[in-house]
């Protein structure tokens, strides 16, 4: 039985495409974890959740319009909404959480409605399920999607590294940063754009309902154990990659849905970190 599983896994790995998928999943999880630290600390976790629902709505519209490269529609829409939510966050008339609840449920309802009314395929509930919870197998990812993901996630990682010190400063104390002459408006916008990109990319992988998990779990796990910002960022990045790769491996072998499996791995990681954190404190 064990031999079978390993054989099956090796059989999968003999396709270069599976390798690509693994790399892409690891990179997106990494991006989500990097941004996750800032989003969690800034109390923006729910924005990620809201954005993914907006992305779902946009995807439904793109599909109904028959756009083949739907990322090209979904990405700009999500970026725009993210800028509105994070960028104006400080002096918005509707308070953050209510605005997000309104937006995300609204987008979700609209998306489902459009998918039903203007359905282009025979299997509407299958389509909806895939967009909400991710593809049933990584082998169904389209090559074009994989390459788009690869490119964008590399850009996100490079931008994050380049602005790392400034992202830290703005996350820790926006008032101080602004008072000493930093363009905090720019960094809030940057954060919004990066978050939107990661969410749109990750959505194809784990689905729009689960992408927030990739954002919050590694960061929260790392914060149980580590004391400095740098170690929190590094640990959550490494752990996100490990969870993603092991989740994919398990999903391939047991034919579980990959998105849910990765999130399960993240939950296990969180529980382990929480327990370890309590042990260390004693």
């Amino acid at each position: 039985m064990d031999g079978n599983i390993i054989q099956q896994f090796l059989f999968y790995l003999s396709f270069p495409f599976v390798w690509f998928a693994l790399i892409v999943v690891a990179l997106i999880s990494l991006c989500a974890a990097l941004l996750g630290v800032t989003l969690v600390l800034k109390r923006y976790s729910f924005i990620g959740d809201g954005l993914s629902h907006v992305a779902f709505g946009a995807l439904a519209v793109a599909t109904a319009l028959g756009v083949t490269q739907n990322t090209l529609v979904v990405l700009p829409v999500t970026v725009l909404v993210a800028m509105l939510l994070i960028g104006m966050g400080r002096n918005a008339r509707i308070k953050g959480d209510a605005a997000i609840a309104m937006l995300s449920t609204g987008a979700l309802a609209m998306g489902y409605l459009i998918m039903n009314v203007f359905s282009v395929s025979s299997n509407v509930s299958g389509d909806v399920c895939t967009t909400l919870f991710g593809s049933t197998s990584i082998l169904t990812l389209k090559p074009a999607d994989v390459f788009i993901c690869l490119g964008f996630s590399v850009v996100v990682i490079l931008v994050f590294i380049f602005f790392y010190n400034r992202i830290f400063a703005v996350t820790f104390d926006e008032n101080f940063s602004e008072a000493t002459g930093m363009k905090t408006f720019f960094y809030r916008g940057l954060l919004a754009v990066l978050t939107a990109v990661v969410i749109v990319l990750g959505m194809k992988l784990v689905g729009s309902l689960l992408i927030s998990a990739l954002v919050v779990f590694p960061a929260l796990s790392a914060m149980r154990l580590f004391k400095s910002f740098k170690s929190v960022v590094l640990f959550s990045a490494v752990m996100a990659v490990i969870c993603a790769v092991s989740g994919i491996a398990i999903s391939v072998v047991c034919s579980f849905p990959p998105g849910a499996t990765i999130v399960m791995m993240d939950i296990i990681l969180y529980i382990v970190c929480e327990l370890a954190g309590r042990l260390v404190k004693r």
Binding site: K42, N165, T171, F172, N175, E178, A179, T180, K227, S228
Partner: protein, 251 residues
Amino acid sequence: MNLIECRDLTLGYDDGIVAEHIDFTVEKGDYLCIVGENGAGKSTLMKTMLSLIKPAGGELKFSDELKRNEVGYLPQQTIVQRDFPANVREIVMSGNLSRMGFKPFYGKKEKKRADEAMEKLDITGLAKKSYRNLSGGQQQRVLLARAFCAADKLLILDEPVSGLDPKAAKEFYESVRKLHDEGVTIIMVSHDMHAALSDSDHILQIGGHKQLYFGKTEDYVKSKAYYKLGLNSHPRDSRKHYMAEYHKAEN
């Protein structure tokens, strides 16, 4: 030499005026305390000095010597910070960013500056400690070190001891005094009249939409503004105390 010159300044936002006819100057090496009731416009004045909001009228002039990135600022703590996973060194180091232009990473110069700031405020031993595990007093000193790292000419402190116990507050004032003794100009918004009187050399009091007093601290205790403050904002038994102080000052 005047670092900041403020002439007939009107403070306010688009939707209304907070205070008007504010006149004061801050000279190099001054220790100015800004006092006043809640809502008097202290924090609006401070935001105006930090160029976060524009003056609604009048003028606020900075000397040429003082560029915007040479003003250090100690804001009030936010909820986000209290539980923030960052060590002391990372926080103090971030004070450097305003002077780094487009340089993405810290170099030797920045590290040295941060180390010096930590040394000056006696927190070198805490460098690797996590901010969230520090006491309130230590946290404030870390933020003061960051402000000092950002600018060593002028520091603007926003109610720095609110929420500190008396001992921590005393230690914090000592640190500020030490920086002041070394020639750093200090502007402090404060509720703590006692410390304002004992440490500062100038007082600016605002209230009732206008300036009630500006001048030397030693003259302030003899002023009407100080007397009235005692009558209005203190419970009965301390009223007696202020009356006594007032008469003593008059004689």
